[in-house]
């Protein structure tokens, strides 16, 4: 079995003391930041990104992945105990999980979320191990037009799934694409949109951009509209275990959620948010007792929590095999990989098998660590919720500033961070969600390059996108997605889905 050989390579690479240590640090820090109300995985990743830069590539990727699902998991804890979703994918957990907590079953809800996530994480890891290599070999048949079409599909999916107005999301993606083009044109060596600033010759730096847009704007947002203080529901350790009835309800839901999440994660534009909403809807549809939903249905916790974790893992597949991020979080991951000097794509698997498989193995290890650090230490995380925001935000801000400074001592980087804070603030005031912008920013140069190559191959004939079966299929999917946005019925469901937040 080749898969097991690969996984063995991975566990060898990820199992070194150093990597285990960084995996632990990543999951702990991720949980720490994720637990804080109002900070979802995107700001959490942005804030913690700089501390991974000094490490070697594998350790840094392991740590980043750890931060990601740590933040994801921390978000669920806050949702259940405080009814404050830290991120979009925890919203549905909020609905049922918090109701369970109010009935005194907070411990059970937390345990179900943790164990469901762990199970989903295991399946997700196997999924990546099993589907990674075949997908990578398919990826080798991808040519420029196919890549272009795939990126187009990914961007359109990101628009479909973005919060709020569709038109604004389209504009965000486009602005991101344009920002991604700033710097030296690879083809001609000419600088574009640098305004004569040498700091922009190599393009806009990723870190000041994400920290400004997500980390700092988040702080200002919270200062302008302080979230109402809510008391966390206290839990005692002995209440932690779900009873038989709850286990019976949770297991099938977790299985369904895991399957759904694993599949949705692979799709372009898919990911944790889509998976948790889809799973919740599914559970609500197939249950025999729909009346319980909204009042603490166990399936409504087990399903979505498993689904979002499975999807969080499998959404690494497109990134690692095709080199294309499927959602804004993966775009941040890709940004981090590029900073580490790794161009994500099918080549990683053959040239750096230790890196690829090490990361896959570390996901499983990280998930195990999450269960171990979360369940017994839940009390500590809850304590964290009582740290007053007036002390928290200056510390987060300091962390952002040090992060930028330690990766580049160039004073221009601080200026850039200030510029993006102001820009993000304006966007926030105008009701624009900046998440799709990161995706555009990362994909901008790639899209241009692939468009250019495609048109060189076809001598300027755009029919090349339709004549190739792979790109034609992807374009048909893109058009279908566009129709979905325009189709009123779907639009209504989409709006309703986001209403629940």
């Amino acid at each position: 079995m080749e898969v097991f050989d690969h996984l063995a390579t991975g566990f060898m690479a990820a199992g070194t003391l150093q990597n285990l240590f960084f995996c632990l640090i990543g999951t702990v820090l991720g949980t720490l930041i994720g637990v804080l109300p109002g900070i979802g995985p995107i700001p959490a990743l942005a804030i913690l990104l700089p501390i991974t830069f000094g490490l070697d590539p594998l350790s840094s990727l392991i740590m980043l992945a750890g931060i990601y699902y740590g933040a994801q998991y921390g978000g669920s804890t806050t949702s259940i105990l405080v009814n404050m979703p830290g991120e979009a994918s925890s919203v549905v957990t909020c609905i049922e999980g918090h109701q369970m907590a109010r009935k005194g079953r907070a411990g059970a809800a937390l345990a179900i979320a943790a164990l469901g996530s762990f199970f989903a994480g295991c399946v997700g890891t196997v999924f990546i191990a099993a589907f990674g290599p075949p997908l990578a070999s398919i990826a080798q048949q991808f040519n420029s037009p196919d890549y272009f079409a795939l990126m187009l599909l990914g961007l359109v999916m990101a628009i479909v799934l973005a919060h709020g107005s569709v038109m604004k999301a389209v504009a965000m993606v486009l602005i991101g694409l344009l920002l991604g083009l700033v710097g030296t044109d690879t083809n001609t060596g000419l600088t574009r949109y640098t305004f004569g600033l040498s700091g922009l010759w190599e393009g806009i730096d990723f870190l000041p951009l994400v920290l400004g847009l997500f980390g700092i704007v988040e702080i200002i947002r919270n200062l302008e509209n302080p979230p109402p203080p809510r008391d966390a529901i206290s839990t005692r350790m002995r209440d932690l275990w779900p009873n038989k009835q709850e286990i019976r309800e949770a297991i099938p839901a977790a299985l369904r959620g895991t399957m759904l999440g694993s599949i949705l994660g692979i799709l372009p534009g898919g990911g944790a948010v889509l998976a948790s909403f889809a799973s919740y809807t599914l559970e609500k549809k197939i249950t025999k007792t729909p009346r319980r939903f909204g009042y603490g249905a166990v399936e409504g916790v087990a399903g979505p929590e498993s689904a979002n974790n499975a999807a969080a893992q499998t959404s690494f597949i497109p990134l690692l095999t095709l080199g294309i991020p499927s959602n804004p979080i993966m775009a941040i991951m890709m940004g981090a990989m590029i900073i580490q000097g790794i161009q994500p794509g099918a080549a990683v698997m053959t040239t750096r098998p230790d890196l690829f498989w090490g990361m896959v193995a570390s996901m499983w290890i990280g998930n195990l660590m999450l269960v171990v650090i979360n369940l017994p230490m839940i009390g500590i995380w809850v304590k964290l919720l009582s740290v007053p925001y007036r002390l928290l935000y200056p510390a987060i801000l300091l962390f952002c500033a040090i992060g930028v400074y330690s990766t580049s001592t160039e004073p221009f980087m601080m200026v850039l961070m200030i510029v993006f804070t102001v820009f993000g603030y304006v966007l926030f005031k105008l009701g624009c969600e900046p998440a799709p912008m990161v995706l555009g920013f990362i994909l901008g140069p790639l899209m241009e390059e692939n468009l250019r190559r495609s048109l060189v191959i076809s001598r300027g004939d755009p029919m090349i996108f339709i004549n190739r079966p792979i790109s034609a299929t992807l374009l048909v999917a893109t058009v279908l997605m566009l129709c979905l946005i325009i189709f009123p019925q779907f639009r209504k469901t989409r709006e309703e889905a986001f209403q629940e937040e």
Binding site: I51, G54, S165, M167, K168, V170, A171, L174, I175, L177, L178, L181, D185, N187, T188, L190, R192, Y193, F195, I216, I219, I220, L223, E224, R390, L391, Y393, P394, A395, L397, L398, C400, A401, I402, Y405, S406, T409, P411, M414, V415, M417, I418, T421, V422, Y425, V426, K429, L430, G431, C432, M447, E448, L451, R452, L455, V456, R459, G460, D461, P462
Partner: protein
């Protein structure tokens, strides 16, 4: 002309401006042809699309009711930006300790009702923490105290 959705109207104008500036700044880039795309080809298309979306969003804001733009509160954003600027200005020459303390102090004043003593204590403790963790534990190259 009545603006029914101020937020969308503002966003529309922002997009139009963004696209226009993009077109204007990029106007000296060679557009090229589809067969041989110049450095201006892709950016010009994107800028055009951004302007188009801006026009649609702005036009819609005249017809469809939407949320008002929330009042801008100057205190948080101004103090947060000052905090970052202070850190950026002083880290290189005066060092991480003073820069961190300044950042925390400025940031704290982004809220009203600041408890000065608490803030000073917190700032000093955090600065010490930063130096221990980042400079000594993680070995980040950072001047600690007057360039050392």
């Amino acid at each position: 002309m009545v603006i029914k959705s101020p937020q969308d109207f503002g966003a529309g104008i922002l997009f139009i401006l963004f696209g226009a500036i993009g077109l204007w700044v990029g106007s000296d880039l060679n557009f090229g042809t589809a067969r041989n795309m110049g450095p201006g080809y892709f950016p010009m298309i994107i800028c055009g699309l951004i302007m188009l979306i801006g026009l649609i969003v702005a036009a819609k804001s005249l017809a469809v009711e939407g949320p008002a733009i929330e009042r801008i509160q100057f205190r948080p954003i101004v103090f947060i930006l000052l905090a970052i600027a202070a850190f950026g200005l002083f880290i290189e020459d005066i060092g991480a300790i003073i820069a961190s303390i300044l950042l925390i102090m400025f940031a704290a004043y982004a809220r009203k009702d600041v408890n000065l003593i608490e803030t000073v204590v917190f700032a000093v403790v955090t600065a010490a923490f930063v130096v221990i963790i980042f400079v000594y534990a993680l070995g980040q190259p950072m001047p600690v105290w007057w360039g050392r």
